[in-house]
């Protein structure tokens, strides 16, 4: 069964550094999402992406964040200058045309020191 994959599984970085989180959505999916989950809290929407552009973004997704689909398979989330409060699990999700259920990857645990 196809799955969403994410790399790395864990990332530790210094405050102010740039990080890039990578995702490979399910191959026939067209809609892509990033969510984050601060430890012990609920999953929060960051951004949705379709047809090579952002469809919607939350207020969390400020100018420090960007997304890109650099090729036909990868979907990335970049945080330009990480802050301590960016420490969280980041989940990628995807869905196909005509479907509302989103399928999630295993997540990247980001720790900003």
């Amino acid at each position: 069964e196809p799955e969403v994959t994410q790399t790395p599984s864990h990332q530790v970085t210094q405050m102010g550094q740039e990080v890039i989180l990578r995702c490979v959505p399910i191959s026939n999916h067209l809609y892509f999402y990033w969510y984050r989950q601060i430890l012990g809290q609920k999953v929060e929407f960051l951004v949705s992406f379709y047809n090579n552009e952002i469809s919607e973004k939350s207020e969390i997704f400020d100018d420090q964040f960007s997304v890109e689909r650099p090729d036909g398979s990868n979907f990335t989330l970049k945080i330009r200058s990480t802050k301590l409060e960016d420490s969280a699990m980041y989940f990628c999700a995807s869905t196909r045309e005509g479907q509302e259920t989103q399928y999630f990857g295993p997540g990247t645990r980001l720790l900003v020191l």
Binding site: K42, Y50, E100, T101, Y103
Partner: protein
């Protein structure tokens, strides 16, 4: 407004018992709901969904009930097993015009299954 919330943060059950996890929503126009299971250190895993034109939907050992009158849905797990131990989230699409929607998650209920 857009809001999905859960009644209880933790539910402890004995192995073999049935579990019921509850969720309330505030938007009466909501027409689709999803239950996700999240095991420790993993991403949310789809369990079952239901549309607002249904009151009940059954899967393997799981049943979702939707009460539109009181804006409440529940997830019932029959014969709960240790592998069911996880955090369970209800979620609904936050509607935007066109395109496909973000999911709005509830706070989550932790299910602990004891032998």
């Amino acid at each position: 407004g857009e809001s999905v919330g859960l009644h209880l943060p933790t539910l402890s059950v004995q192995e073999g018992d049935n579990s019921i996890i509850n969720c309330a929503y505030s938007n009466s126009a909501s027409d689709y709901f999803i239950w996700y299971k999240q095991e420790s250190g993993k991403g949310p895993q789809f369990i079952i969904d239901i549309r607002s034109n249904m009151d009940k939907r059954q899967g393997q050992r799981v049943t979702v009930l939707l009460n539109k009158t009181v804006k409440h849905l529940s997830l019932q797990i029959a014969a709960t097993q240790p592998g069911d131990s996880a955090v369970y989230f209800c979620a609904e699409p936050g509607h935007i015009s066109g395109g496909y929607n973000k999911l709005i998650f509830g706070a989550g209920t932790r299910l602990a299954v004891h032998p």
